[in-house]
């Protein structure tokens, strides 16, 4: 298993930020997702964030909602996500799964962690789980050597940032804006301050997500964060494409652009 820390260490050794790319499993189809992940890796992504499609996606904007709804309509199950995660993990970069907590609870936390580790994944990003309520996961993830990535936001108090980063393992996800996922014209002006506040509490790398869609924005975020997380813009490539092959090609082209962006 590759740890997600490996992706950040590699980027740090090259004196740059890591490029973290998100795609949801099962979209545009099971096979189409695997092809898009391959294009992401070929384009230069450092860490894959594979989304588990969920019916109540509270942190996601319209783009990712449209994609995950399609994945669910097509019958994507947790077992399919595990299968896609295993395929992604074999592509040569670390993989973390991003999931809302209820599917993990329904599947069983221990069972989920066991399957995730067996698939070769590094851990979980859990946007709607607060460390205060993550009791089982704190212990079980440690038992399986899995990373725990919790989120902090601009509204987080210093005490909340400290308790959240103390519970994180691997890295910290900083949500740069108070809102849902989705490409934005301007990147957040409060994100640099949030990253600074996170670093006062932890040595862990900090990834910044929400809103980055192009090379210039990637370069800007890379100037102050350890990782640049891009989701909706990649998903948009697949949503807007006339067919899967052209969508996959567009994902590869954007990934190469963003990989260049984090290199300044």
């Amino acid at each position: 298993m590759r740890s997600s820390g490996e992706a950040f260490a590699k980027a740090r050794a090259e004196k740059r930020a890591a490029f973290v790319g998100y795609l949801p499993a099962g979209f545009p189809s099971y096979d189409g997702c695997i092809e898009a992940l391959r294009a992401l890796v070929d384009g230069g992504v450092d860490l894959i964030e594979l989304g588990l499609p969920y019916s109540d996606p509270v942190i996601d904007g319209v783009t990712i909602q449209a994609a995950t709804e399609q994945a669910l309509r097509q019958g994507t199950r947790i077992a399919d996500v595990m299968r896609a995660a295993e395929a992604a993990a074999a592509m040569g970069v670390p993989v973390v799964v991003m999931t809302y907590w209820n599917p993990v609870l329904a599947y069983g936390v221990e069972r989920f962690a066991t399957d995730l580790a067996a698939a070769g994944c590094s851990g979980l990003i859990t946007p709607d789980l607060i460390p205060d309520e993550a009791g089982d996961w704190l212990e079980i993830s440690a038992g399986h050597d899995l990373d725990r990535v919790f989120l902090v936001a601009p509204s987080s108090t210093p005490a909340r940032i400290a308790s959240t980063t103390a519970a994180c393992r691997g890295w910290v996800y900083a949500a740069s804006t108070m809102g849902v996922t989705g490409a934005r014209e301007a990147t957040s002006s409060v994100a640099p301050d949030l990253v600074k506040r996170v670093r006062e509490t932890t040595q862990l790398p900090v990834g910044v997500g929400l809103g980055v869609s192009n090379r210039a924005q990637a370069t800007e975020v890379a100037s102050y964060a350890d990782g640049v997380i891009v989701g909706s813009a990649l998903v948009r490539c697949l949503l807007d494409a006339a067919d899967v092959p052209s969508g996959v090609k567009a994902v590869g082209a954007l990934a190469a652009e963003l990989a260049a962006g984090v290199r300044g």
């Binding site: 969920y54 019916s55 109540d56 993990v104 599947y107």
Partner: protein, 107 residues
């Protein structure tokens, strides 16, 4: 209300405020600790209770609250006619007039 993957199932209630598939942690706790009991009430019973309160008291209950009024029947059956019952009428039904008018075939 969820499937085995934890995916949300679609719900239905005539009351917008009850038409969701989840239960809050407070209610779950009250039920698990036995401090409260919960009875199902369907659209028909809730709207009959809605009509009854309008006609007898001149008070328009929220359709959410009308579910509690409908529950009075089964409580009375258990406790007997002499029991004193306190019903929490948690909201007003002016907001529900369109829904009620459609239900009773008035529009």
């Amino acid at each position: 209300m969820q499937d085995e993957d934890g995916q949300t199932r679609e719900s239905h209630s005539i009351s917008a405020g009850l038409d969701y598939p989840g239960v809050g942690p407070e209610h779950a706790w009250l039920k698990d600790t036995g401090r409260a009991t919960y009875e199902p009430v369907d659209d028909d019973d809730a709207m009959e209770a809605f009509r009854l309160l309008c006609r007898t008291e001149g008070i328009i209950p929220a359709i959410e609250s009308a579910h509690a009024l409908a529950g009075v029947h089964s409580v009375v059956r258990k406790l007997g006619a002499d029991a004193v019952l306190l019903v929490n009428l948690s909201g007003r039904g002016d907001k529900d007039m369109t829904t009620a008018a459609e239900w009773f075939g008035l529009v």
